[in-house]
Structures are given as C-alpha cells and as structure tokens.
Symmetry: C2
Subunit: 432 residues, 2 copies
Amino acid sequence: MVATIIASEVIKKKRDGGRLSPVEITEFIKAYTEGTLPDYQMSALLMAIFLRGMDEPETLALTSAMLHSGTVLDFKEIPVAKVDKHSTGGVGDKTSLILGPIVASCGLAVPMISGRGLGHTGGTLDKLESIPGFNVNLSLSEFKSAVKKHHIAFIGQTKEICPADKKIYALRDVTGTVESLPLICASIMSKKLAEGIDALVLDVKFGTGAFMKNKSDAEKLALGLCSIARGYGKKVSALLTNMDQPLGNASGNSLEIEECLEILKGGASAPDTRELSLQLAAKMLVLGGAASDATSAYKKCSEALSSGRAYEKFEELCQIHGGHLKELPRPKFHLEIKAKENGYIQSFDTEKIGMVGVRIKAGRAVTTDVIEPTAGIITHSKIGGKVQRGDVLYSLHGANLDLLKMSEAELAATIKLSDTPVTAPDLIWKEI
Amino acid sequence: MVATIIASEVIKKKRDGGRLSPVEITEFIKAYTEGTLPDYQMSALLMAIFLRGMDEPETLALTSAMLHSGTVLDFKEIPVAKVDKHSTGGVGDKTSLILGPIVASCGLAVPMISGRGLGHTGGTLDKLESIPGFNVNLSLSEFKSAVKKHHIAFIGQTKEICPADKKIYALRDVTGTVESLPLICASIMSKKLAEGIDALVLDVKFGTGAFMKNKSDAEKLALGLCSIARGYGKKVSALLTNMDQPLGNASGNSLEIEECLEILKGGASAPDTRELSLQLAAKMLVLGGAASDATSAYKKCSEALSSGRAYEKFEELCQIHGGHLKELPRPKFHLEIKAKENGYIQSFDTEKIGMVGVRIKAGRAVTTDVIEPTAGIITHSKIGGKVQRGDVLYSLHGANLDLLKMSEAELAATIKLSDTPVTAPDLIWKEI
C-alpha cells in the first residue's frame, strides 16, 4: 500500500518534468524487481522517462539501482587492472575475440560478460559457441577463478547479475520505450559495472548497420555512457566507429571465428577488423596502465599479434571453456552473388544484411531461435571498392542450401553501385 | 500475438506525437477491455496520451470505443426528447434532484445515470439513498420502463455500461494519468452518450471546491466536452459555474435532500441552489424543444416549482424507487462553529470542507467506505456576507458526536474573514 502511494507520486513527478531523487528511483526499481510494484506502474514511469528525459544524476541513480538489484563481481584479489570493452552492436563485429586475447596477453585482466545475437546484430557468445565444446555457461565462481588464473574468460548475463535490467528490458520491448537515452545508458552500464572492472572502452557505432543511424545520436550515447562510467570513478574512453558496412569480411558465427583466427595468427585479409581491434585494445592498455601512451600501447598490441602471444591466449581461452578449435565446422554449401555491371560500391544496407543473416539462421529473430553455426555472409568488397561485372560481391554460406537460395535476391539488393569513384569512409570518426 | 504487435506500434506512434487512427484506437480499447492486451501496454499508452495529447478526431474515436465497449441505451420508443445534465462535481451540488423533476414535469424525459461520492465531491446516488427504501439498483430494463412511464429515473453505472471506462479509470488512478483533458472528456462523454440522450447540459465548475481550480482549465474542459457531444450529433450547452464556496447551504446526504425538498416546495432559503437548478433546467428545456427561448424556458421551470408539479414528480420518483420520503432521517447531534470576530467572508477552502465531510462520514475516502446518511455540514453564510462575533458560520450534523467534535477545528479553518467588504462572486461565469 505504501509502495503504491509512492509509486504514483514518483510517476506524476516525472510526468510533470520533475527530477526524481535517488531514493525515489532506488525504491521504485527495488519494489519492481521484488515484484511488489506492478508492470503497469513501471511502464507508465518508463513512458514518462522516455518523453521527459532524465538528467545525469537521475541516470546515475537509475544505473546504480539496476546494478545493485543483483550481484556485483569483485576482482580485488587480482592485482592487475580489470578492463573491458563494450560495443553498441553491429554486423560482423567480432573485435572482442581479438582484443580480449591481446589485452590479456599484455598483462591486464579482461572479465567479459557478453551477449547473444538478436535481430540484425550478432553476439559474442554465439560466435564462441560455434567452436565445438565451447561452454559459455560458467558459474560466477568458475568465471572468477578463470579470470584470476588466465586473465580472460567469457560468460553470459546470469540471473544473478542485474535482474532489474532483465525485467525492465523485457517490459520496454513491448511498451514502446526502448529508444530512450537514459534507459539505454543505464541498461548498458549497470551490466558493465557489475563486472567489477576498473576501466572500460566503448565502441559506439553509427551508420546503416548500427542502432544509432547518425553520428550525432551516437555521440550523445557515447557521452551519456562515459558520464556514468566517470560518475562511478571508472576510467573510460569511447571510439565512434563507422557501421555503414559490415566490419571485416565475415558475418556469421564460425566464419567470424575463422576471420579472428587469421588475424590472431598475424594475417591481414580483413584490415578493418584488425585495425579496430588494435585501436580498441590499445585504449584498454592505456586506461589499464599497461602502456604509458597511445603509440606504445598500439605497438604492444601489434606485437601481441605478430609474436603469436595473442593467438596462444585464444587457445588458452578455448581450453578454459572446453572448446576444440581444430574441430571448427565448415559450411557445407555456398552461393556467390556477382556484380551485374561495372562500378564503385556506394553503400550497403547493413541492417538488411544482418536480417538476411537471421533468415539463413546465422542470427535470431526472437530469443528462442536456434542458430546454425556455419551460416553466414562474406562481403568481398567494401565502400569505394571498384568492381567489374562478374566479380563476387557476396557469398552466402551454410548447411541449408534452400535457405541460402531463398535469400540470394534479398542480399543482392543490399548493395548500391555508383558509376563514379566513391571515397571510403573513415573507420573511426571520433574519440571521446 | 498480433494484438501485441499492433499495441506496441500504436504506443510508439502516440509517443512520437502522431495521430492515432480510429481503427488503432478502437482495436486497442477493444483488446484491453477483453483482456487480451495487458495493463502495462495500456498504461504506457495512457502516459503517452497524457504527455502528447489527442486531437478532436482522436478524442471522438476514443469516446466511441469506450461507449461501444458496453450497452448503449435506446429510448427511441419514447416520443419526447431525452435530456440530461452532467456536473463535473463539487460540494453541496444537488441540482440533479431539483432540475430532474422540473424537466420531467415539463414533458421531457430525463434518464439519469449518476455517480457516488468520492473524495471531497458528493454523489447523487448517495443523496437519494439517504431516503429510506430508495433503491438505485434498478436493472437496465427496469430503468428503461421507468423512464418511459414516468419520464425520470436514476441508476448507477452498471457493469453493462462502458466497461472499458471502468477498467481504464482504475488504471489511470494508479499510473498518474488522471488529469488529461482527452482522457477526462472521453470518460465523461462515453458514459453520458450511453444513456441514449438527445441533448446534454453541462455544469462545468471551477474554484476551490472544483476539480478545475481556475476558469481557463474549466473552459477548456467545457469546450472539449461540447465538441464530443456535437461530434455525436447531440445538442449541448455548458454553464461555467462558481465552486469557490459550497452550493446552497447543506452538504451531506439527507441534509441536501431536505434542501431540495424545500426548494421543490417553493422555498428560497438556498437561493443559489434554486437559481442554478432553474438555469440548468431551462437550458434542458430549450435543447429538448420544450421551450422556444431561454426566457420562456426559465418561466416554465419556475412555474414547475411554484405550482408544486416538480415536487409531485419528485414524490413520483420516490415511489418508482421505493423511497419513503416521510421517513427521511434527521441527524441526532449538531455542533455550531461561531465567528470569533466581526468581518466579511472573504473565501472558503471548499475542497477542505468536502474533506471534513469525508471525515464525518458524509462522503468517502475510498470507494468501499460506508456513508452515514445524516452526516453533513450547513454553511450559514456565503462569500461577501457580513458576520459578527458569535454568529454561526457552520453547523456540523450527524449521528456520531465524537466525529463531529474531532472535525470542528479543521472545519473552522476553512473560512477566511476580511475587515473590509467583499464582493460576492457571480454564480454563473459564462455560457457555452
């Protein structure tokens, strides 16, 4: 009864553009998570927040309430800095699998709580699970031991971590309250802060394959996320990166693992994936105190690749999780999509490429969909690339030829050619 | 599943300031009333409507959807015009009990679906039920027969009428979405339109005892309500009336019945109650075609009082509902609150007077409270009135002396005196 009275007053205050106090936010979230405050009051508040906004102290308090709704990991016993990277999601975005081993091999700890693919964006856990035997379902104590011993491990969001976020996110999804900056920031940061990290590097993407289609929205998001991290005394920096085309060549789980292995072994057939991974890893080294400046950090990271140390760390990671790298499956079938005319690649509908991925079972339309690990798309040329009639633009891979055939036309329509030369976009637009 | 997808799209559209189509509104309300659309989606939409508003066609569609969620009465077989009055609520507002018999005795039909008291405002049904034996719980068919035969009958909102409104109102109450003009208009008008009336007179109140504290908000509400009525092809007019003090002398159920009986018998000890009842009744006669102009309508209504025809109609009404007027209970106790100094009455905190009424059980704090029919307050002098030390300002009446004593100080604090003469406010500010 008392909770109900507080709840409707809190809703009215936000509705009228007021600023909620930390106590109001904390009690509201606590009651909702415990189930004493009903969904319909939470959704009314979410809509009021969506339309009225939240300032920095409110967003911090919301993050804090969500963070403390569950377990917050504590890695104090590990003497080195704990650093992580978070990406806002895209197509072919596999940098975690490269920068994680690089940074861990350079002496810092990387405790990664990762997600699964949904809609057009992929998920790190799905990629790892394409390695036969790879088990991402460690318990929190197994995860902690692994990070302590090997400086790297991966895990999914367990029910102990940020239960408030899980419950609120499900409600936002059906009440038109997803695209709200303070709600997005609190959701992302509560999960990252639960990792017990000292520093965080953000990869905030913009473009046709990102959630934020334009630079300005992406910058706002980056600033919001950085401000929360700083409010918690965490070191943070953000790169604003281009997602107007898939990152690297491969999108699809085992195909992306192959691309990562090639880079970890010193290869360079996907220079954008390699470069972005190195840039993000270098940032992590600087924030974690393992390098004094950007130049020496970048050099250290490059050496981790060329020396094979990062690859060894990846093999070590597979051992921790029981993955058998040598058994990585190969797609049974592939289809090629060829250019019908000469020209320069002008643009990609990258989100649509991701949705073709969903159709061929490289991704999920709903959380219960089952992924086919070898399904995926290789993008053979990038924006600005010159193509001639008959050149292969895409290849579709997977175990189900019918699905690949069904998606051919849709995928072909995601690329636009120009008669005149096109300038390739910068991979990294800005640094915060 | 389909309903859910539509629901979140409808929510997003309103959230982004879009105009909802009649189909979107109708389907949303239908699914909610049927229980296939959950509370949390309805409350998100209500908050979006609260903050983004609704234009006239949307408000009409919402009214229509709520109206058609239940039974719409049909009085076509009654050859005369069916007219009603709706008041937005106040303290001591008893005009329905006077104008109903007046208008019915002038040949028009008055099918009144009335409400109960809640918070500081009273309810017509509670007033009638203070008459021993008076049964307001007629079935819809009994109600129709009574209106057909006697041209007047009273009934409460049954579960057959506007079930959507009932469900939505309960949700608005706990989600901070009550004070929204389109939601208020649709709620009021769907219930009135369900009465199957041809014409409606609105008594929209402003002041310290009204929901709308200022004239401008009251006028907006009046315009909104009139526009819906006209959209349905109903004749409508509205009076904007002053509620800066209780209407008449009595507030409290049996006390108000006594005041009405005195007026119906031709008395004039509560001139404001008498005048407002006559003005509203005259409007009803004009809209219903029983008088050609305002002057002749007013004359007809006055004659209905002076001739005793209105009183006879009230006695007939009591017979229909089984009420025994002669057994009207009298309060056992009364306490007087006297002026402690000379002066002129400057203002009343009328809402507070209503809340003292709730405390002495003349009204309800929550819908389940039980009313004590004889409890009430007599206001002995009005704004502008000259009082001398020792004059009685209020008297508190009821069956429970302790309750009356407990409320004495609170009631005394609701009146403010001035040293210099004060002008009495106009009873009727404006006509629409």
